[in-house]
């Protein structure tokens, strides 16, 4: 499938003006105080000593992260009585007991006895929206990725639940046999070449200094770099003007490799997330992050 801008599945970037506005803010900030420069210019120097010209913009975007709007909306949705049964998600169990959110996200994906499955944040939210609120699974899945024409409750709820664990460390445990199975499957999928281009995740994410166009790709076999990845999803994506979840990231990676569409909350997506999050254990959660 080619990106179809009209269908707004891959909406056209609309962030240019935003960046311009931020640049203007940056200029004003520089003029106003040298302290701002000390911070911003310090960040502009990447670890290898090369100047990263985007660092100033990145920092400004992180300070005024539009993802906060999704957290706000997600919080409202979480507590609102919704769906055919008119109940809130306050009784949703993310692994630490009903309604316990703080510290739940860093342990996901994990095995849930009630469903008999290993579930990540999004698939668990899906379970709760179906089981507690009475929504039809197909409807939630269909609307899980927002477009410019419709908002996604899933993206807002995932932002909110993940953000409740900000500052805590990713800490996925592989205690249950099914969790170990999922990890193994994820590790296999990450390295398995397939599809018309004979690509695996590791083809792009296994070496230093790889890029798609101008976008630098993290080397996910490096602990530091994978931690930087998992600490910031769900993330506000400037090019898409919305928060995207890890499910969407993996869906998009699959599309980029020209593989068949990755089903939302599928075992394959959860296996990859289990592998990635476990590999990124220790990462300090800062959700929603900010991504290109």
């Amino acid at each position: 499938m080619r990106p179809d801008f009209k269908s707004s599945r891959h909406p056209r970037p609309r962030s240019l003006l935003r960046i311009r506005a931020l640049r203007a803010v940056a200029q004003r900030a520089r003029a106003a105080t040298t302290v701002a420069c000390a911070v911003a210019c310090g960040a502009a120097l990447a670890q290898d000593g090369k100047v990263d010209p985007l660092a100033v913009g990145r920092q400004l975007l992180a300070e005024d992260n539009p993802g906060e709007l999704w957290v706000q909306r997600g919080e409202k949705l979480f507590h609102a009585k919704r769906g055919p049964r008119q109940v809130s998600l306050e009784q949703c169990d993310f692994g630490l007991g009903p309604g316990k959110l703080t510290g739940a996200f860093p342990r996901l994906p994990r095995y849930f006895p009630d469903t008999g499955k290993v579930q990540d944040l999004e698939s668990r939210l899906l379970t709760c929206m179906v089981e507690l609120q009475g929504y039809a699974r197909a409807d939630i899945v269909k609307g899980a990725f927002s477009t410019l024409d419709h908002d996604s409750d899933m993206e807002a709820l995932a932002s909110f639940v993940a953000s409740r664990s900000n500052g805590m460390s990713m800490n996925v445990q592989l205690d249950h046999e099914k969790e170990r199975e999922m990890y193994k499957a994820g590790e296999y999928l990450f390295h398995r070449r397939s599809g018309p281009t004979d690509f695996a995740c590791v083809t792009c994410h296994g070496d230093e200094g790889k890029r798609i166009r101008l976008q630098e790709l993290p080397n996910m076999t490096d602990r530091k770099q994978i931690q930087a990845v998992v600490s910031g999803w769900p993330a506000y994506r400037g090019t898409q003007s919305t928060v995207r979840t890890m499910q969407h990231r993996l869906y998009d990676c699959n599309w980029q490799m020209r593989l068949p569409d990755l089903d939302f909350a599928s075992d394959m997506s959860i296996a990859l997330t289990t592998y990635l999050n476990y590999s990124g254990n220790g990462a300090v959660i800062q959700a929603p992050g900010v991504r290109r």
């Binding site: 269908s7 707004s8 410019l148």
Partner: protein
């Protein structure tokens, strides 16, 4: 009804740094939806920032401003505890006002 704004206001010395993040679709009128129909214009037309009840910024915005815009103003002679109020009105007549108390840095 419009989602609330996210306002940050901190004072450093006697200058308050006010940053406002607004949830708004800011449709240009040029985009087509999945059915190929033009999406009508929907954008913030005017925005007013008041500081302790005194207007310190008024803006006439257009469809050229981005979706979910962020903007910043600075006010001199500020101190912690001051009141900031931001109001926007869009071309459909929707409006929203949010308030924030200035924090110490």
């Amino acid at each position: 009804m419009a989602e609330p704004m996210k306002i940050r206001a901190t004072v450093k010395g006697d200058v308050a740094d006010i940053r406002v993040l607004i949830a708004h679709p800011m449709e240009t009128g040029q985009r087509r939806d999945a059915k190929g129909e033009l999406v009508p214009q929907h954008f913030i037309q005017s925005i007013v920032v008041t500081y302790n009840g005194k207007t310190v910024y008024t803006g006439q915005w257009s469809q050229a401003v981005s979706r979910n815009p962020v903007f910043a103003v600075r006010v001199r002679g500020a101190k912690a505890g001051d009141k900031v109020s931001v109001t926007w009105v869009d071309n459909k007549g929707d409006r929203r006002t949010d308030e924030k108390t200035v924090d110490a840095a």
